[in-house]
């Protein structure tokens, strides 16, 4: 799987799956899938260690979340020990249930982090930048300049720092960093000035007609308002159909407004991405898995997702459909290229 839009679909489906359950079995399945996928991709794409730092983050999150939850939560039937009531916030029963709940939360945060890490690994900076719609061209140009200048600014900062160290500046207090920041700022702004002159000389100015589009701003405001309204109406138990119509309306506004605004912008692309059959197939399967998941959740046909260790810790139930759907983020693994 290579296409950036296919990876966006993968990211959305995996994130939704992660955020909509607290069943540890499902979470472990998805964690195993993303760890395997990430390790394989890292081996192919980068020489840097990938698994170890991610596992370190996961363990840190598990410990932190379990600690906070156990110390501050005093519910659950299996009391491990009791802290004196006088101790502010942490005083009370320390229970096994709150410990497990904390671990589950840590698992979600850790898996979410690893999922986004895979997305970063899968796509290059160029691919991510290209995902931004054409109508935001000035923003993309600014980002491209920043990304292009970044390495040279880093290099210059290192050189200035070395020069300051040679001159006896210990670079320990914040005021010691002023002789680094000022020359760095001046030389970088000089470069920016040269760049702005050459951009002006090459006609990069006054493109107001292409980018000033009131229709887009107003449509996006309506889209945001409709999503917000659909969400709040759902909270107050209004029929799902009403919220769904609002979401649909919002999506329509976004797609139509961006399509209309993009058509007005004349920008050519170099090396366009092409959809391979693997991209198409995995995107269709991922969308199907996501849609099935949401349908099962909203119709209440997947009770195993609503697991909670409270009030008494019990083993989580699993359902075959749930297991199958939670294996869907491994689709890129099936279409993994070894080139």
């Amino acid at each position: 799987m290579r296409h950036s839009k296919a990876w966006i679909i993968w990211l959305v489906v995996t994130t939704v799956l992660l955020l909509t359950t607290r069943n540890p079995v499902y979470l472990f399945i998805i964690l195993g899938v993303v760890l395997t996928l990430g390790t394989l991709m890292a081996k192919q794409k980068t020489q840097q260690p990938w698994l170890k730092p991610n596992l370190r983050f996961l363990v840190t999150m598990l410990v932190l979340s379990a600690l906070i939850n156990t110390l501050f939560t005093h519910v659950g039937e299996s009391v491990l020990f009791t802290l004196p009531d006088q101790w502010l916030l942490i005083g009370g029963d320390i229970t096994l249930e709150s410990l497990v709940y904390g671990l589950i939360n840590g698992l979600v945060i850790g898996a979410l982090y690893i999922t986004f890490n895979i997305f970063n690994l899968a796509l290059s900076i160029k691919q991510i930048t290209r995902l931004i719609p054409n109508v935001f061209h000035p923003i993309v140009i600014t980002m491209t300049i920043s990304l292009t200048f970044f390495p040279s600014i880093q290099r210059r900062a290192r050189e200035i720092k070395e020069a300051q160290l040679i001159r006896g500046n210990p670079m320990k207090r914040i005021s010691d960093w002023l002789p680094l920041l000022l020359p760095l700022l001046i030389t970088s702004l000089e470069k920016a000035f040269l760049l702005s002159e050459s951009m002006t000389a090459r006609g990069f100015h006054n493109q107001r007609d292409q980018f000033s589009n009131r229709f887009l701003a107003i449509s996006l405001i309506f889209a945001t308002f409709f999503i917000f309204s659909g969400w709040i109406l759902r909270l107050y138990a209004y029929p799902f159909l009403i919220s769904f119509s609002f979401y649909l309306l919002s999506g329509g506004f976004i797609v139509f407004a961006l399509f209309y605004a993009n058509r007005k912008v004349n920008i050519t692309h170099y090396h366009r991405e092409t959809w391979s059959w693997e991209d198409v197939l995995s995107s269709i399967l991922l969308v199907a898995a996501g849609a099935t998941w949401i349908t099962l959740l909203t119709t209440g046909n997947l009770p195993s997702t609503a697991y909670t260790p409270l009030p008494k810790l019990l083993l989580p139930k699993i359902q075959f459909q749930g297991v199958l759907i939670f294996f869907s983020p491994m689709l890129p693994l099936l279409f993994h290229h070894h080139d």
Partner: protein, 269 residues
């Protein structure tokens, strides 16, 4: 008031209201305090709404960028600021301390609210792209840093009105502003993260309690998890502004004058 300015202010107002209503939904809407909702739907919906708010603000702000001069200037300033994020480890300071707020605030204060917004939001985006730090937290970071840069433009009329420009009071005001935002940044970012960690009855939202009680619970969660980070960030901002504002403002003033050249095509007689 000019129609364009009025339109921009209206859009800003709508975005701030929608963004704040989403982030503060559990405080405002009683039904949003149901734990099941808070842990699953809340992060997804808030991220979605914030991404849309960001798109609107980007679209509005990019009109401030339409000439090549501002694009080049902002691009380079963002690259410097993203580089400063790497210096977080090099510059001695406790956890939570970050030098990136310095240029975000100065850009908004010095150039305009739109440039300040772009500086804040794009610094977060660029540094996330470079470090591979794209994650669900990114939209929240971007909009909060954007609001920080945008709001710093409010100091400009105040300083001009009292004639504090290039006087010690200018530095004091900017330093104080940065210290307050050091705390606000943490408070806003925590609102997004709260549902993940705060399940506990003593710290989480409760449907049966009043708004005031829920705010008290949030404060307890905040005290327990992040206040130390935010205090060190605030103190760090205060020190950086006290030390660096004056010389950096001098440089920015000089370059602002140089960047105001105007291009006009030669007209044949």
């Amino acid at each position: 008031m000019k129609p364009n300015l009025l339109r921009s202010l209206l859009i800003d107002l709508v975005i701030v209201i929608l963004g704040c209503l989403s982030l503060l939904a559990p405080f405002i809407f009683q039904q949003a305090r149901f734990p099941g909702f808070s842990q699953s739907t809340f992060p997804i919906m808030v991220s979605l709404i914030i991404v849309l708010c960001l798109l609107i603000l980007f679209f509005e702000s990019q009109t401030a960028l339409l000439d090549g001069k501002m694009i080049a200037l902002l691009g380079v300033l963002i690259a410097i600021n993203a580089g400063l994020r790497f210096l977080e480890n090099a510059i001695p300071g406790p956890a939570g301390f970050s030098p990136i707020f310095f240029f975000i605030i100065l850009s908004g204060y010095f150039f305009s609210s739109r440039v300040g917004f772009l500086m804040g939001a794009l610094t977060m985006l660029i540094s996330a792209l470079i470090t591979g730090g794209i994650g669900p937290w990114l939209p929240g970071q971007m909009i909060t840093a954007g609001w920080l840069g945008q709001s710093s433009a409010l100091l400009r009329p105040l300083i001009n009105k009292f004639g504090w420009k290039e006087k010690p009071m200018e530095v004091v005001l900017l330093a104080g502003f940065s210290a307050i935002w050091g705390m606000i940044y943490g408070v806003v970012m925590n609102l997004w993260f709260w549902p993940f960690l705060a399940f506990t009855p003593d710290l989480a939202w409760s449907q049966s309690l009043s708004l005031l009680d829920n705010i008290q619970r949030y404060l307890a969660y905040y005290l327990a998890t992040s206040v130390l980070w935010d205090v060190t960030r605030s103190i760090g901002n205060l020190v950086i502004f006290a030390v660096m504002t004056k010389p950096v403002i001098k440089i920015l003033s000089r370059f602002q004058r140089r960047f105001t050249f105007k291009y006009s095509p030669k007209v044949d007689a």
